[in-house]
């Protein structure tokens, strides 16, 4: 029963976890080591006397956004944010350096404004290999919405209205890619992530934070209900930064001469899940003097995982087809340990087509599987995604995205209109309308539906 309760309240637990997890990722990560890395990179690839000043490129983007609730009677502005992103690129013949320094004031997160060295990495090129080191994002898989093999970087789950391009959190990693034929598309890539970083969850008290967890007032013990005397603060267990906990990824990709040229890849990842597994421990309360009572000790830990996956993309009859599949094995292969995540898998198929009038249609279907605990049925979940996009003029783009979970009947629809005021300056009006049962994954956010207006200036 406790386990079932935990499953129902997993999302709430994440809120508690966020109190501990959000700060290390958002505040500590951009600390001194990152700055040192950036400086080292700049120095390493710094302009030499004979190098044109154009080798060093500075740019950035300033974006402001506000939101207006679509549900309820609260008419105040919500989810305001200001973000200034400064980009530095230094490219040479045999290497390059890139860094992103981000200042963000996010009204949806009860955190002070902060500077974050989002990325800082250098790349060295040779005809048959490429080495990249630093804080970066490495994306695997060729489906955009659902992607079971894009697991090297943790996710930023703090705000679903964020730019999808920012949904992956850069982490320190080393990437080595070998090209057997420099003029070909066959590559073997190895990635090492030495230090584990969890996914970023909504800060407690933020607009997107889930409801506070509700703990039972009593626990059944040997047929009798034993009252809960107290609930301790969650214990967060991050994998230690040791060599054996380093994540390793391998990817072999190539192009096959079938269906007019199809891209295929096989991937393997050994590391830890980036989202926590909740555990609720029950212990007798030693301070109880007369009536027996128990203490609840919630804990969150990150289970080891081995993920095997494959990618495929081609085109048939003018339709672009992409597929990504992945299966993750955990230490609890048989589902006998309720405190360990069970094996799971996902298969995704994406099809895209552009009509004669320029309307772009993309659709994804994802079938997920999670092994059930002992005595419980396996879980199968079907999710779909649909994207319609059209650019009637060179300045105006509209799109409508729909995400719908067939299994729990919850979803979100997001219409968006973007207008380019001038080169690099765009205004975007969007809405996020959540729907579905309260206990569905997305329907639970129905009271969070909002419209957003953002202004972005790239320079």
């Amino acid at each position: 029963m406790i386990q079932r309760m935990l499953m129902r309240r997993e999302r709430a637990w994440r809120q508690t976890a966020a109190r501990w997890l959000a700060r290390p990722a958002a505040v500590a990560a951009p600390g001194l080591w990152g700055l040192a890395l950036a400086v080292a990179g700049i120095l390493a690839w710094g302009p030499s006397p004979e190098v044109s000043a154009q080798d060093l490129t500075l740019g950035g983007r300033l974006q402001v956004q506000v939101g207006v609730p679509l549900a309820g009677t609260d008419s105040q502005l919500v989810d305001p944010s200001t973000e200034l992103r400064l980009k530095l690129d230094n490219a040479k013949d045999q290497g390059a350096f890139h860094a992103d320094l981000v200042f963000r004031e996010d009204g949806a997160q009860p955190l002070p404004p902060s500077w974050n060295l989002r990325t800082a990495y250098g790349t060295v090129n040779a005809p048959s290999w490429e080495l990249s080191f630093g804080k970066q994002v490495v994306a695997w898989g060729n489906t955009d919405l659902f992607n079971p093999v894009n697991v090297l970087n943790p996710d930023d789950l703090s705000n679903p209205t964020k730019d999808p391009a920012d949904m992956k959190l850069p982490v320190l990693m080393t990437k080595f890619t070998y090209y057997p034929a420099p003029g070909g598309d066959t590559s073997l890539q190895a990635v090492v992530v030495p230090v584990f970083t969890p996914s970023l969850l909504p800060e407690p008290g933020s607009y997107w934070a889930p409801p506070a967890p509700e703990y039972p007032q009593a626990i059944p013990v040997q047929g009798a209900l034993v009252p809960v005397s107290r609930v301790e603060n969650p214990e967060i267990s991050l994998p230690a930064a040791t060599p054996e906990n380093a994540a390793v990824g391998l990817r072999l990709g190539t192009t096959l001469p079938v269906l007019g040229g199809s891209q295929v890849a096989a991937v393997y990842y050994h590391g830890h899940l980036h989202t926590p597994t909740p555990v609720l421990q029950v212990e007798p309360d030693p301070t109880a003097s007369q009536q027996p009572s128990v203490i609840l000790k919630p804990a969150l830990h990150y289970d080891p995982v081995n993920t095997f996956g494959a990618e495929f993309s081609t085109s048939v009859a003018g339709i672009g087809l992409s597929s990504t599949v992945g299966y993750s094995l955990t230490p609890d292969k048989d589902g006998t340990d309720p405190n360990t995540a069970n094996p799971s898998g996902m298969a995704v198929v994406e099809a895209s087509y552009v009509f004669a009038n320029g309307l772009n249609l993309s659709a994804e279907v994802a079938e997920s599987y999670a092994k059930g605990d002992r005595g419980q049925a396996d879980q199968w979940t079907t999710q779909t995604g649909l994207l319609l996009m059209h650019q009637p003029t060179d300045r105006l783009t509209w799109q409508t995205a729909l995400l719908y979970n067939v299994s729990d009947k919850g979803g979100v629809i997001r219409p968006q209109v973007q207008y380019t005021l001038t080169d690099g300056v765009t205004a975007t009006l969007a809405a996020f309308a959540f729907f579905g049962p309260e206990n569905s994954q997305l329907g639970g956010y129905h009271d969070k539906s909002l419209a957003t207006l953002s202004l972005s200036c790239a320079f």
């Binding site: 983007r61 490219a91 005809p127 994306a139 003029g183 040229g261 060179d394 972005s456």
Partner: protein, 303 residues
């Protein structure tokens, strides 16, 4: 890997490239084929066009003399073959500016382009800043089979395939499609030609030719103006049925050494009046390019 100031950065043999650098003087190259011409498509084309093209100073094939010593007028097929037969630089590298004009207001894009022969093209966006790093790769397959088009989206760190129908979509908001840009779909053997008329031009006749694709596509026919001496079409009209969709015109051509290349082309959408102006600069031909230039790897490499 880019050209900066007087320096060409191509990953290796920089000194050699410097020597080959062409800065507004002679040495051109464009030229590719009819394709270019034709279709013009392409930015080609322009670049390409240019690119492809041809040794401008090499006179096109002289029409055979007919009975009585009178030169017989060439057929449409012969004209187009002459367009296609212009020599093509082995490689080309240059800067490309693309201006989108609507209602008197314009949006500017700056790009860098690499081409190999008539089959491989890479374009990387330099400006505006919000699309910087976006890169496009097109590879024509040998024998007219399936072609490859890839688009690199730097924000997502992802390379995505441009599928069949997507090739007919607008290329970054311009009046060119991805097919146009890649100069695909304009193979001579993919069309049947008909001579519609011969107009009188400043330096000789101008052949007006209708080209009908053998396979259905976005355009049901093209109408080309090819002036003598034959290099490439000076104007192309794109039809869907009887409706004129777009017009491509070569506004300026320039001699670069043994090549004559278009340096300014304008594509006009006839229904909206929207225009895309393409200008080519800093062109260098037959430069040494790394073997990985026309691969996904190069798409993802920083500018």
């Amino acid at each position: 890997m880019r050209t900066q100031g007087t320096k060409v950065r191509l990953g290796y043999d920089v000194g050699r490239l410097r020597e080959r650098r062409v800065r507004g003087q002679a040495r051109h190259g464009l030229g590719r084929s009819i394709l270019d011409g034709l279709a013009g498509l392409a930015l080609v084309l322009a670049v390409s066009v240019g690119l492809v093209a041809a040794q401008a100073f090499v006179p096109a094939a002289i029409p055979e003399a007919g009975a009585g010593g009178v030169l017989a007028a060439p057929t449409a097929q012969q004209v187009m073959e002459r367009v296609q037969n212009f020599p093509v630089p082995k490689t080309m590298h240059g800067q490309l500016s693309m201006t989108l004009v609507s209602g008197g207001k314009g949006l500017a894009r700056k790009m860098e382009i690499w081409q190999q022969g008539r089959d491989k093209t890479v374009i990387k966006f330099l400006e505006p800043a919000d699309v910087r790093g976006t890169a496009f790769l097109a590879i024509l397959s040998e024998g007219g089979g399936d072609d490859t088009m890839m688009l690199y989206l730097p924000a997502l760190k992802a390379v995505r395939r441009v599928a069949g129908s997507q090739r007919q979509a607008s290329f970054m908001g311009s009046d060119f499609t991805y097919d146009d840009i890649a100069n695909l779909g304009i193979r001579v053997e993919d069309y049947t030609y008909q001579m519609l008329a011969t107009e009188k031009g400043a330096s000789g006749p101008i052949y007006v030719i209708s080209a009908t694709p053998k396979k259905p596509g976005k355009y049901t026919s093209l109408k080309l103006w090819v002036p003598e001496p034959v290099t490439l079409p000076s104007r192309v009209e794109f039809y869907q049925g009887k409706e004129l969709l777009k017009t491509l015109s070569v506004e300026h051509m320039q001699d670069f050494g043994s090549y004559r290349l278009p340096t300014k082309m304008v594509m006009t959408d006839r229904s909206s009046g929207h225009q895309t102006i393409i200008q080519l600069s800093d062109l260098e031909t037959d430069v040494a390019l790394p073997a990985y230039t026309f691969t996904q790897r190069f798409l993802t490499m920083p500018l």
